[in-house]
Symmetry: C3
Subunit: 523 residues, 3 copies
């Protein structure tokens, strides 16, 4: 529970990472390259750029200072909603000291809302997406009229001036060329909507982001076009006016929904693409209806439709009793559709009849689950999906001799492996092993390694041997890689390996029911 060292360990590199990741998380990614790209785009409007940066720094400072999870902090998860709010506020007002005080207050509000929604939606196993951003930006937008000391920005109206200030005459000419050559309103509104994700109103911003996606992940780009196209066709079919998307922050809902569901939360493929086509009309209806409501208050629903459909759909899929083979949630979400697809295909080859799961048992050879899922013994309640593994001999004994020493136990010192690819979220290695029969009630889980497989899938390997852990926080690990050795540290009366999947990186997290046992029993 105590991890005083982790607080001191914050280095300059980690500060930089937490800031950069706050940018790339907007696209569900932790790619540093993409982050640099997005930082640059955010500064297309320098007021927005500064606002975003200030907000990210304040949110991350709060997370660090108040003792929130350093791993999530480093992943940018505490910062990206505040970033969006900062961009929005920075864009809306003319830069002034008061505006940056306002940015600071909204970043603080957004940060606390992030923590709250992480807690509340986390109880349902759902990501918080951009819900904290939404609430905060609405607070700002609704207050806008009352804040008479702040001046609205007139940027966006004089696009040419800004372009000139950014890149001189070349930029202006290039922009002019684009405007003229893109005759199709469909394509122009697509680029506008892409840019609007980062509160950019220039056509150019959208084009640069599209370019970034092309380099970073082609599936993502294809999905963004697919989502937008389906929405466009449905607009036509039922007679909704399309051009209004050209000057509102609304169209990106179709793009984000397609990316999130088509490539990240579902395994990308014909089926996931099909569901995008089925679901997008519903997103359109949610968009037009919420617009009617928000119009009355003179604010935009922003990304509300995207948040609603993704949360509803993901939660509904979770509640299925049988998981049909043709609609598959990403088992190990790796921040890039291409990787999700690769991982899935790889497993399909090896386990053709089984679930698309990359997880393997975290050891070699034959072990016994002394306590498996919903066991009659102790893994109950929040810990009901955990496994305790030991090695037994033919007589079912776990030890030789009298079992008075840790070394007598067959599993003690045996290799413990990463069950799947991932990044080490936590590595504790400094807790001595107990003598047999004793338990260490202070360091409950003992030496423990937590590996992040995706945003909502982590595995925890506990009670490892003192000083046996071979990885450190932040390390990237491959499936089957040696992590440490089975030990007897923590609340462990005799050597065994505690293994569980969980939805977040905390040492004390409850388990989730990930279809791991299926392999266990087939092996």
């Amino acid at each position: 529970m105590k991890m005083p060292e982790s607080q001191n360990k914050i280095t300059g590199k980690e500060i930089l990472y937490s800031i950069l990741n706050s940018y790339s998380q907007v696209f569900f990614s932790t790619s540093k390259t993409l982050a640099v790209f997005l930082v640059v785009i955010s500064f297309f409007d320098y007021g927005a750029g500064i606002g975003g940066l200030v907000a990210v720094i304040i949110a991350n400072l709060l997370a660090w200072n108040l003792g929130y999870n350093t791993y999530l902090l480093r992943s940018g998860l505490y910062g990206f909603n505040a970033l969006l709010v900062g961009l929005g506020v920075g864009l809306y007002y003319q830069p002034s000291p008061e505006v940056y005080i306002l940015v600071a207050i909204t970043a603080l509000t957004c940060f606390f809302l992030t923590v709250v929604f992480q807690g509340v939606l986390g109880k349902y196993g759902l990501p918080f997406l951009s819900v904290p951003f939404l609430l905060t930006i609405w607070i700002v937008a609704l207050s806008a009229n009352s804040l008479s000391a702040l001046n609205l920005s007139e940027r966006g109206i004089f696009v040419y001036n800004e372009l000139y200030s950014l890149g001189g005459k070349i930029f202006v000419d290039f922009y002019d060329f684009l405007e003229k050559s893109i005759g199709s309103s469909f394509i122009r509104i697509y680029f506008h909507s892409l840019g609007a994700i980062f509160f950019q109103t220039h056509l150019l911003a959208g084009i640069v982001i599209a370019l970034g996606l092309l380099i970073y992940s082609r599936i993502t780009l294809v999905l963004s076009v697919l989502g937008f196209t389906v929405a466009f066709l449905f607009y036509r079919l039922v007679g909704i006016e399309f051009d209004s998307l050209g000057y509102t922050f609304i169209g990106f809902n179709y793009i984000l929904t397609a990316i999130a569901l088509g490539g990240y939360y579902l395994v990308p493929g014909r089926i996931s693409f099909g569901w995008i086509i089925i679901l997008l009309p519903a997103v359109v209806l949610i968009t037009t209806s919420t617009q009617q409501v928000f119009m009355l208050f003179r604010i935009s629903p922003y990304s509300l439709p995207f948040n609603v459909i993704v949360l509803v759909f993901l939660y509904a899929l979770k509640l299925r009793e049988q998981r049909p083979r043709h609609l598959i949630e990403t088992p190990v979400q790796l921040g890039k559709p291409e990787k999700n697809l690769y991982l899935y295909s790889g497993n399909m080859k090896r386990f053709p009849a089984a679930y698309p799961v990359s997880a393997t048992l975290p050891f070699f050879g034959e072990w016994t689950a002394s306590q498996a899922h919903n066991g009659e013994y102790t893994h109950k309640g929040a810990w009901r999906h955990a496994f305790d593994f030991v090695i037994t001999d033919r007589k079912g004994q776990q030890f030789k001799n009298e079992g008075d020493f840790a070394e007598d136990y067959y599993c003690f010192g045996k290799a413990v492996l990463a069950p799947a690819d991932g990044i080490v979220a936590e590595a504790i290695d400094s807790i001595p092993d107990n003598t047999i029969g004793d338990v260490n009630t202070k360091d409950n889980w003992g030496n423990t390694v937590i590996i992040k497989h995706n945003e909502t899938l982590y595995s925890k390997l506990s009670h490892l041997k003192f000083h046996s852990v071979e990885v450190k926080t932040g390390d990237s690990v491959k499936k089957g890689q040696l992590i440490g050795r089975c030990g007897n540290s923590g609340r462990s009366p005799y050597p065994h390996l505690h293994f569980q999947f969980q939805a977040n990186p905390y040492v004390g997290s409850s388990t989730i029911d990930y279809p791991f046992g299926h392999y266990l029993l087939k092996e």
Copy 2:
């Protein structure tokens, strides 16, 4: 966990049932007669009728295809909210291909919202009522202005035309006769409100539904009149205009609340009727206030007041520490107030001093609860209200000889009985018994029968003997009827009967605290 056969078992009859039950569920029932009645009424407006049918079929197809619970599917619980949405959309627009595409999209949206609210409200032990319908119909109604390719229906304005097309001159004359003979605006608005539950604007529809209720359940009819009368008197007392109820979809809130609380969720009787009188004025206030809010968006609150009051009241009753004898939740809700009342009275005679519970112990003779509620041993967390039963001899031993064989255990092979009337929601019979000491970690609960007693009360009997189960899914069972025999299948190291009450039909559901132990300890 795996139940591949149930997916294949879907027969034509079951498809028909799932569709019919989607209609009768609107009145908390699974009566086929009532269903046929309601199908006919829905086609009074053929656009609405088709819309409703299309929506039901799409919702049920999704439930079946995506692997949701087949029992709930058959009960119409996945379909009835979509039905209401389909009726509403079908009525609102003139029939056209686009309209039925819209119906399909809204049915899909409504289906996913049904699953979500089943999950979320289920966590609080509450039914989802028509909350999914509400959200979906608001989405459609708010989008209506934007959908310029669809034409609003002008039906309802030309009632006579429609009546003529339905039943010729006889119908028109009859309707004319009704209109003239029912002078009282109170009675006319009552019938209008009754019809409005099915989106019917004709007076006739209300009269037919009233007739249906008269045949199906007189208590229901009486309650509907009581609720409406109390509301009417309160309108008078505080000076709210009453006639507006004649052309809005609002008045049925008073009828539905009275039926739901007066006869279904509470044991019908003087006390439940008294509470209807106390609560109805609050429903009126919720109605007038929500109308003020929704008026601004030019939509109706529809059944929102009904949903609010029923959910608030049921949840508040759940949180009581002591259950006073004069306000009693239906212990086993049987879809018809008359049955609820009968069941309650029967029990009151037999157990005059006790709770009105029909549940008995699921076996004959004297057994021992090796693990009862909140036991010190293993029934913890979500399973904390479960019982494990065994038979012990005078020395407290559970077996004769060495206990090495299942047959040595006194309880093995003994009859297991239905603890209360109900319908079999799940029956698994194909899992071999374990040898003593082994556990089957794959089929956790072993051979299992789940019996539905009411919408939120199910009992589960687990670890039954291989091929001993005497009932099959869908069977109606009586209290005390032989269900199967005590066995040693699933995660059971030695023969015992696992018994629990739970709030839904899933094999892996958590237990609920139903006052069963009271009898147990009195016996």
Copy 3:
């Protein structure tokens, strides 16, 4: 579970207490003096005063009659939201029989909403504050236009008339004097806002309340001024019009937030005052934005901003992984900032390096935790933060001789102490001890004492010896005071002390993770 005696025990004194506490709870207190003060103020407007009293009586009657927790009832927790609603309705309308029927209906609605939010927010360990009041007052306010039989009050417009009727010419002159001498609109609006907490529009009411706070708790008064000042400065900085606060029920949000967070839920001190300064601007933004929304419906957000910020902030603090020393939640909230501070300082002296917790072990000498937090054995799920304590000898044995008799156990009959100051919320003493090996499954927890330390911290000491309990419900106890003796009653196969912290006073409550173990392991 059964506590029939508690229902009969309701005496006249207890009825009076439940009514008085409903008044002082508005300021998070159970002070009888403060209550009398507030009752008097409420009758400054006799319509409001009667309305408030009627509402409190109805809510408390419902709580008592329907079997809700008598301890919470006595603390005024079921009454204070209804009180506020009754005051509001009573003030808004001219007194008439219809108005008091309306008060009764809204009190009933508010009561059920209180129970519901106690349940829902309680799941997150949060207080329900004035959320039930908010929903109810909005229902009334939105319905106001429709209730044509009720006449709006014109009081408040003729302040002088009322003052005259209250206190004759002296009052009028005094009021006149005040109005003239308080030139500063800041000070006048401060007093107005203070009075508005009790729906009083007179300047005088604010001044009397300020006087009451000065006597009752100076820190509370200072905080109220601090919060109001910060809000005022922020209004100036961003140019929000300040004077509108003079005639709306809005400004008290700044006062209540400062009091709640600065002195009750956080340990008062420089840090808590600092956070008030940081958070108040966010409260201002939430206020201005919600006002924009509610303005459209012509209603006030009332205390919504206060509720939002307090719930968000408290929940976010709960989710911290590490508790930094400079932002500390009150460990034992004692209804008065001064006491909270004193308690904290006292502990800081004794445990300079530790958490500011006043809890000590509930016994003398050295005991063994046979099951501590998240134990491998049985304290799982909702009970995972519980402790079972026994006394062991050098060989680790818990008993002498054969352990066949309760008296053989070292812990049996040993003193059990109050772990911290508090009030006895429940004391059960009438359950016989079991013979060794037996368990009493009917009275699960056996003889049990529950002590309330603050609104959300209770401790439970269970399985006490038959007739050993030395305290009774309502007693005030000091840390270390003798409560009873270790026994073997309830579901206890051998003598031990079950100890847990929990968030509410119910016998069956789940445990919370209160940093008690820290001391345990340091001792």
